[in-house]
């Protein structure tokens, strides 16, 4: 059903434009003056220098989890790269020196420009080796090569940046459970 939208009847002062124009100019000048004098009140984020404050479960840049000895927890099973709809993960496997473990990644690269941040790799991983909880949501660089991150970059994270309740990461070097985990490992317990 058609609805008639009545045009608002303009008053005399509105029809001669000038009063309304000066009111508009006052509004915009107010914004300009506030921006110049009070930079702290601006509703902006200095992209890309400042990372936004986002929750931990936001699917952000990946990281590779570590064993207590600092080696990657990944066993190069290709589950993540198989699950990946964007085919952005490329893995090269090699033999692991540890007799308990069959393989380890010689190369583990993620092309962040291809990645669609769906989180399927995290779900596919059988040993919780890859996570997307770094909270690094803004990725900006001058070159495309920078966006292809390798194993070292994926494992370059600090346990202090992650919550203490996260026991998995606390077993990593620097974590509160590190010493105990290392003792368990040396005692030959299953890990």
């Amino acid at each position: 059903m058609a609805k008639v939208v009545p045009r608002p009847e303009l008053t005399f002062w509105e029809r001669i434009y000038f009063v309304e124009i000066f009111k508009g100019l006052a509004t915009t000048l107010g914004h300009a003056v506030k921006t110049v004098t009070r930079p702290d009140t601006l509703p902006i984020l200095m992209y890309p220098e400042v990372q936004p404050d986002i929750p931990r479960d936001y699917r952000a840049r990946h990281r590779l989890m570590k064993r207590p000895d600092g080696s990657p927890r990944c066993v190069a099973c290709y589950m993540c790269s198989t699950a990946c709809p964007a085919r952005c993960i490329s893995i090269v496997a090699e033999e692991s020196p540890d007799r308990h473990i069959e393989k380890r990644p010689a190369k583990f690269e993620i092309d962040l420009l291809l990645c669609v941040f769906c989180g399927f790799c995290v779900e596919a991983c059988p040993c919780d080796a890859i996570r997307m909880d770094t909270r690094k949501a803004i990725l900006a660089a001058d070159s495309r090569r920078v966006f292809v991150i390798d194993k070292e970059q994926l494992m370059d994270w600090d346990p202090k940046d992650y919550p203490a309740s996260d026991t998995q990461s606390q077993k990593a070097p620097g974590g509160s459970l590190h010493t105990q985990a290392l003792a368990d490992f040396r005692a030959g317990s299953d890990h």
Partner: protein, 458 residues
């Protein structure tokens, strides 16, 4: 011709380049103004690295990168375009932008004694002091629309042609009310010469107080004349792609762009000259009120500036020093604000802020010291007769150029300010406003002015 006269002529010629010199400032003002009005900090990524210091120079580097980009782009001519007119068209706005400032009086007339003959040599404000200066200026200013129309036609693109037709139709409508709105002022002054208009304003009062309606009409017409918001239907990017310069890129687009900004500067200078007293300091002689004792009696013309040269310089330097201190304060606030953020480039940014804080503090202190020194040291005694030494006359001219530039820059800011405040008019609304409203008001204004002028001025 004497050597000093030739040097003065060369200096006057350099004044013709003022609009070109102000174009980078206009672009910066446009970007910053847009940003500040929209609650953003504005351009601040392009930077030059000097040693450990990353200088962004308030966003000026963006102009440099724009220039490099546009000048090194391929000079492309669409295969369907009319090649020669396509290349010729962007030059027309630039040519008019070079010619028109020659007619604007940037300072008041003065004379000095010739070293050879001992006779006074008079120097006038504009480079060309034409009797019908205003008419020549309007004629040249209106020529810039030929660049728009020719370029749009030569592009052989429907969108460009639509933009060009809009521009020409709008120009025709608004030239009429523009001409009629200034006629009232010329009726009162009794001359078409711009120097005469400013001289009349110096001895009486500014045009804006004599012709307030004419001022508003002229200002509005100038917005239409320069194709600025809310009258920028020639570009109308939401309707006709980019309007008349749809097919233009690279250096030819840059020429259009430069011509447009030059036109804004010239329009601002013209408004300042016609209605805000040009190089005149103050609109009224305030000495009629005996309570105002700190201000000496007027009129505030060249003789006034010459007699109080030290005080004038002290005022100008002191005001600049205050600006430097305000800048220091604002940079400090930005620095503290940035220090609170967890930014990846914090160190470089804070170093740059620190550099500008030190620089502005030193500049402010230096300017303040200069102001005090100028007030104490420069004493000019009133000279009997009209002819001052050349040095004092040149100093007076410099102060007057500063006054014109200050007024011009205010109107440049007004152009930016209005652009980011008002939406674009619809095309039929523009036509209705031009023909049904402004033309009638201009005619009535002219009639009333004529009657009053006849009754009052004899």
């Amino acid at each position: 011709m004497e050597l000093r006269e030739i040097v003065i002529l060369a200096l006057k010629f350099s004044l013709v380049m003022i609009p070109f010199a102000l174009v980078p400032l206009m672009i910066l003002m446009e970007r910053r103004g847009a940003a500040y009005i929209q609650d953003r900090p504005g351009p601040g990524r392009a930077a030059i690295q000097i040693g450990g210091l990353r200088l962004r120079a308030f966003g000026m580097i963006h102009n440099l990168t724009d220039g490099v980009k546009l000048f090194f782009k391929e000079s492309f001519v669409p295969p369907f375009a009319n090649k020669w007119f396509y290349i010729l068209a962007p030059a027309i706005p630039v040519i008019t932008a070079v010619l028109t400032p020659a007619l604007i009086p940037w300072f008041g007339p003065f004379s000095f004694l010739s070293a050879n003959t001992g006779k006074p040599i008079s120097v006038v404000g504009p480079f060309l002091d034409a009797n019908a200066g205003v008419l020549a200026l309007f004629a040249l200013g209106s020529l810039s629309v030929y660049g728009v129309v020719l370029g749009s036609w030569a592009s052989r693109s429907k969108y460009a042609l639509l933009g060009g037709m809009r521009a020409s139709a709008m120009m025709i409508s608004y030239e009429v009310s523009m001409g009629l709105s200034v006629l009232g002022l010329f009726l009162i002054v009794g001359s078409f010469s711009l120097t005469e208009v400013v001289a009349w304003q110096t001895t009486h009062t500014w045009g804006i107080f004599v012709q307030p309606v004419g001022f508003l009409l002229f200002l509005t017409s100038m917005f239409a004349e320069t194709n600025r918001n809310p009258f920028d239907v020639a570009e109308g990017e939401s309707e006709i792609v980019a309007g008349f310069h749809t097919e233009y890129s690279g250096v030819k687009f840059a020429l259009y762009f430069m011509g447009e900004y030059c036109h804004i500067v010239i329009a601002s200078a013209l408004i300042a000259t016609l209605y805000l007293g040009g190089y005149d300091l103050l609109p009224f002689d305030l000495s009629f009120d005996r309570r105002i004792t700190w201000l000496p009696a007027g009129p505030y013309d060249a003789r006034f500036i010459a007699a109080h040269l030290g005080g004038m310089l002290a005022f100008v330097l002191g005001a600049t020093a205050l600006l430097a201190f305000a800048f220091n304060l604002l940079v400090g606030r930005r620095s503290r604000n940035y220090g609170r953020m967890a930014a990846s480039d914090k160190a470089a940014r804070l170093r740059e802020y620190g550099f500008f804080r030190v620089l502005s503090l030193l500049a402010g202190l230096g300017l303040a010291a200069g102001a005090v020194a100028a007030y104490l040291l420069i004493k000019t005694a009133p000279v009997q007769g009209q002819i001052y030494p050349l040095s004092i006359s040149l100093a007076v001219a410099a102060v007057q150029i500063g006054v014109v530039l200050a007024k011009t820059l205010f109107f440049c800011w007004l152009f930016v300010w209005v652009r980011w405040t008002l939406p674009r008019f619809r095309y039929d609304q523009i036509m209705a406003l031009g023909w049904k409203v402004m033309l009638n008001i201009a005619l009535v204004n002219l009639l009333v002015t004529a009657v009053i002028a006849k009754l009052v001025m004899k």
